[in-house]
Symmetry: C2
Subunit: 340 residues, 2 copies
DNA sequence: CTGAAAGCGCTTACAG
DNA sequence: CTGAAAGCGCTTACAG
């Protein structure tokens, strides 16, 4: 087991000081051609690499950013990670991924653990519990210490920082309008509970579309699902007890579940019921029938978020002005087999 | 914008030295009750947190581990991350996630970037390109420097290190045997090209099962798919031109695609063709019909890998003996609707 | 052209 | 009980 070689050993070997080694390795003209070469040869031979930690300490920045997401298993979030990774790596940054598991406490612990030198900034989407509690002290704390934060998707107005979102309300409005244009009148909504910011906004968009088209908003056609485990029976009941002709679901799991349950109840998709989902994930694509959906470009959101964060990080302290942007990423309705 | 408070400021404020502060904060009995309290009160007031980077440099370990995977988008890998995160966090470790994007170069760059103090050890699954090139110098390099590496899923015999795998050959054998037991004789295989280690092993298991049951291994029923984009037409041709009664697919994308194409060709699943997939992902669960599959417990693999790595990391240098284990995680055949 | 010193933020063995 | 010193691995302004 060979230990890593340091500048110190290099210096000893060549019989110069470590300052000389340091300068030689940066190819400073201050140092004679001769020693520079000797030092570099040695470094190459022993495959010398500078110690990142020492550099971080010296430079007071770590060149790594952290992304905190509620879950990796969700395709959308995985997609965002991918976008963040790409632009981070391009700019010489590493990325630490933290999972909050939808828990407030884990979110807080993760942030506190990393906010002390380990990372330069955060990209995050709020956990459900945090949204429910409306307790954002850990985030304001970090921001007040001068560490930039970029929020995406599940954001809050109570925090002032850069944000990357889609227009959830509008996207839902358009999806609903699309169904209305097809002539459907009894359109059910499968949404989440209201404290999930994006669920609420999508519900708003749905309601707005109905109203604008003089359609009644019928409460019994609106399902706000809390539990992510046992949501089958309420959906089944909704389909069974109402003569609906279309469904707008706020995520792809709800959409695909609706398809399964409708089939079970003898209804054909899309002949009897048209369905639109949200998030263009792997399920929507491979389901039979494949699902018409509002595509939320997660990769793009991640890329944008990373760009905004890195931009803030690389701004000179003196040029810094507190100014926050909210970037809205375009969505798109992807038409597939689940709607006629 | 308030800067982070350091021990130095604390020392100045209380008018003691920084050594005293350091000791007080660890509640050393060496220090008088009185100053200890003063220091701690100040620290609390200003929400002092020790700088992780300085600690890392001092202790020569960063308490963070890195997991390198080919893709986050794959549900299986997302699942492994989740397992790694949990046990890492429980043990006070952070995790950096790196994506190789199936590229050899990115894998090398990631490892070199992080191997210099930033992290204490690696958990990794080889990129396709690395498996194809059979160039593992970056890994041996890191290991020879004394940094522990745990490989999972896509591993290689050419590297000596801890490994976490499933018995791909056996799992494939069992899946094939299951189909044979149902009375199927014309069983097609949708696999990857052979250089993907797990694809090769699963192919071996399939072949072994056929042979053991005195069934002919028919080359035209075996499809080794290279391209992850355009694999539909070969699959379609295979289903169309052969009178097959079952399919064993080496991942869930191939399985679900086979279902779609079979449907398109007027074949019913499972009535006309039974299908078994591999990896119990979100697609298998939500597809219609849902897919019988070999479940590969990614969370468990991640947990195990993290445990093995951390164990190595926390071993005292003197107790260290070079000894590597390969842990085999149980798989399970999950029966669903795609087989009769 | 080369080196000694100070410093990034911390810890700990050793003096006093 | 408190502090000065050395050190983790590095950089850079300053002397010589």
């Amino acid at each position: 087991m060979r230990r890593k070689v340091t500048k110190k050993q290099n210096a000893k070997e060549i019989d110069v000081t470590i300052s000389t080694v340091s300068k030689s390795l940066r190819d400073s003209t201050e140092i004679s051609e001769d020693t520079r070469q000797k030092v570099q040869a040695f470094a190459k031979l022993y495959n010398y690499k500078p110690n990142n930690i020492a550099l971080s300490l010296k430079n007071r920045k770590s060149k790594t950013i952290c992304i905190i997401i509620p879950e990796v298993i969700h395709h959308f979030f995985a997609t965002v990670i991918s976008g963040v990774e790409h632009v981070a790596n391009e700019n010489g940054y590493n990325v630490i991924v933290c999972l909050s598991d939808e828990s407030f406490d884990k979110e807080v612990i993760n942030m506190e653990m990393l906010a002390n030198g380990s990372i330069d900034g955060f990209i995050m989407s709020l956990s459900k519990e945090t949204q429910q509690k409306r307790d954002f002290h850990h985030i304001t704390e970090v921001i007040s210490q001068g560490m930039p934060v970029v929020m995406f998707d599940r954001v809050t107005n109570e925090i002032l920082c850069d944000k990357v979102i889609i227009d959830d309300d509008l996207a839902a409005y358009n999806a609903t309008q699309y169904l209305i244009d097809k002539g459907f009148k009894k359109i059910a909504l499968l949404s989440t509970v209201d404290y999930v910011s994006v669920g609420k906004l999508r519900t708003d968009g749905y309601v707005r579309a109905l109203k604008n088209n003089d359609l009644a908003v019928e409460e019994h056609l609106i399902l706000k699902i809390e539990d992510t485990e046992n949501f089958e029976s309420p959906i089944e009941a909704l389909i069974k007890n109402n003569d609906i002709d279309a469904i707008f679901a706020v995520n792809e799991i709800f959409a695909v579940t609706a398809i399964k349950l409708a089939n079970k109840l003898g209804k054909k998709i899309p002949e009897d019921i048209s369905i639109i989902g949200f998030t263009d994930g792997i399920i929507s694509k491979y389901s039979s029938p494949s699902i018409t959906t509002v595509s939320q470009n997660g990769v793009k959101m991640g890329e944008k978020a990373a760009k905004m964060l890195i931009e803030k990080l690389e701004i000179e302290e003196e040029d810094y002005e507190e100014q926050y942007k909210t970037e809205v990423i375009e969505t798109e309705l992807v038409e597939r087999e689940s709607t006629i």
